[in-house]
């Protein structure tokens, strides 16, 4: 019942790759609704794998709950309506011939009517500032637009929780700022995996430091990301304190 009140609850979760390498070891984590959490850690720490665990793509030992529902085969459809997973490479996320079709893909799979789908697509594209681009093919978009479009594909499904894997990757400062402002404005629970401490510090109120598949530290974003010894030990940089 504790899991009911939380957005994400992970209890003693362990996952090994098929070759036996431990990807995640004994992960216990809970995220409240509305929290903005940064999953930080060096490359290969297990951040992306942990996001896949939350979306039910990786099965291991231990329990995972999303919005009170245990992640298992029977609940997957409901879980994926409730949790929107945005992959690291927007080219993987945008697979349809036009932006409209891509953003409509999720709502159509939810069984919404054509009018509802059109309204959701229009809302999502307006939110990310791509309302005029609906008929464009994804390969005609810039890197920043692709990233925003990838977020729109998730927003159109109105999930309660959004996970984003390295959302700032290959973005120039202006596009990164735009994305940051967009993510800040979202009311949903956000779980962002990133190696960019400035990006994480600007967005998150809580940080979870992962390394070698284990949770090393969990606490306030400012507190963890300003600990120079901790950051240096795990190959990360110190982030400037958030300006309110």
């Amino acid at each position: 019942m504790i899991a009911m009140s939380k957005a994400i609850v992970i209890e003693n979760f362990t996952y090994r790759y098929p070759d036996g390498t431990a990807a995640l070891s004994d992960i216990t984590l809970s995220v409240e609704h509305g929290q903005k959490v940064a999953l930080i850690g060096p490359n290969g720490a297990g951040k992306s794998t942990l996001l896949l665990v939350m979306a039910g793509f990786v099965k291991g030992t231990g329990k995972v709950f999303v919005d009170g529902m245990e992640v298992n085969g029977a609940n997957l459809k409901k879980i994926r309506t409730c949790l929107g997973a945005c992959l690291e490479n927007p080219d993987d996320q945008l697979f349809m011939p036009t932006l409209f079709d891509d953003v409509a893909f999720g709502p159509l799979n939810m069984g919404l009517t054509p009018d509802q789908v059109k309204a959701r697509v229009a809302d999502a594209l307006t939110t990310v500032g791509l309302a005029q681009m609906a008929d464009k093919a994804p390969h005609h978009l810039s890197a920043g637009q692709k990233r925003a479009a990838a977020v729109a594909t998730i927003l159109a499904m109105s999930p309660k929780i959004i996970t984003l894997d390295e959302p700032d990757g290959s973005l120039d400062p202006r596009n990164r700022d735009n994305l940051m402002n967009l993510l800040r404005s979202l009311p949903q629970t956000l779980i962002i995996a990133t190696c960019n401490m400035r990006f994480a510090a600007a967005l998150a109120d809580r940080a979870v430091l992962l390394d070698k598949g284990r949770i090393i530290a969990d606490g306030g974003a400012d507190e963890i990301m300003s600990d120079s010894a901790l950051m240096a030990e795990h190959g990360l940089e110190v982030a400037a304190k958030k300006t309110k």
């Binding site: 994926r80 992959l87 993987d92 697979f95 011939p97 999720g106 994804p138 390969h139 499904m157």
Partner: protein, 258 residues
Amino acid sequence: MHHAYIDKFAYQDSAIHRLDSRVKFLVVLVFTAVVISLPRMSLSILACYAVGPFAVLVWAGIPLRFVFKQILLVSPFVLVLALSCPLYDRTPVVVGFGPFFWQTTTGWLRCFAILGKFVVTMFALIVLVSTTRFNDLLAGLQWLGVPRLLIIQLGFLYRYIFVLIDRAHHILLARAGRKLKNLGFKNELRTAASMLGSLFVRSIDTAEHISIAMQARGFDGSWHTLSKLHIRRCDVFFVLVAALFISGLYLLVRPILT
């Protein structure tokens, strides 16, 4: 990276661009079938048929330089076939155009007929591809009964072919940056095999990620899309004009010219 998209002019706006993709596809299909079925001796009527798609290309604002470049790009395959005709069919024949008559061989006539039909049908095909967005064309084909699986595969092919080309280009750049001398045939072959292998592995990786992205948005094997196709009065008018043009030439002008 900039790519030469086959439908790069399809994003323009003209009356032809706004026509329903199904209408354009069916008209081009019938036009092509009629042109291909013309007797090989009727080169003059072929020239008359060329006027239709040529006029549409001009109307739609497709640069003729682009059109002829596309035709030249595909022409080597047809040229080999056409130029082989005079070699094996040397039957003498007298041809005439108005008051002029001259002697040639059936092989040459066949050669020009093949080239003429190729150019005219390419005009029609370029009209279709350059005035119809690929996704609209796929939606039209799906409506016309082409299997959904094929449509999905074509959609993915069009979406990811450029991603794959980019990756191949990056691999080639990485190789060029470190290849400081001629490696010899054997080593070049080995390098090429590794590059292809890398491209293949990354393609599988991409496919896995796409699968995850699809499932994350509720994909359960059934493909849902919103149809944006609708037939308007201008589509009906276009079909009527095209039918008049194709059948008129075939039924009325052909007996006179032949």
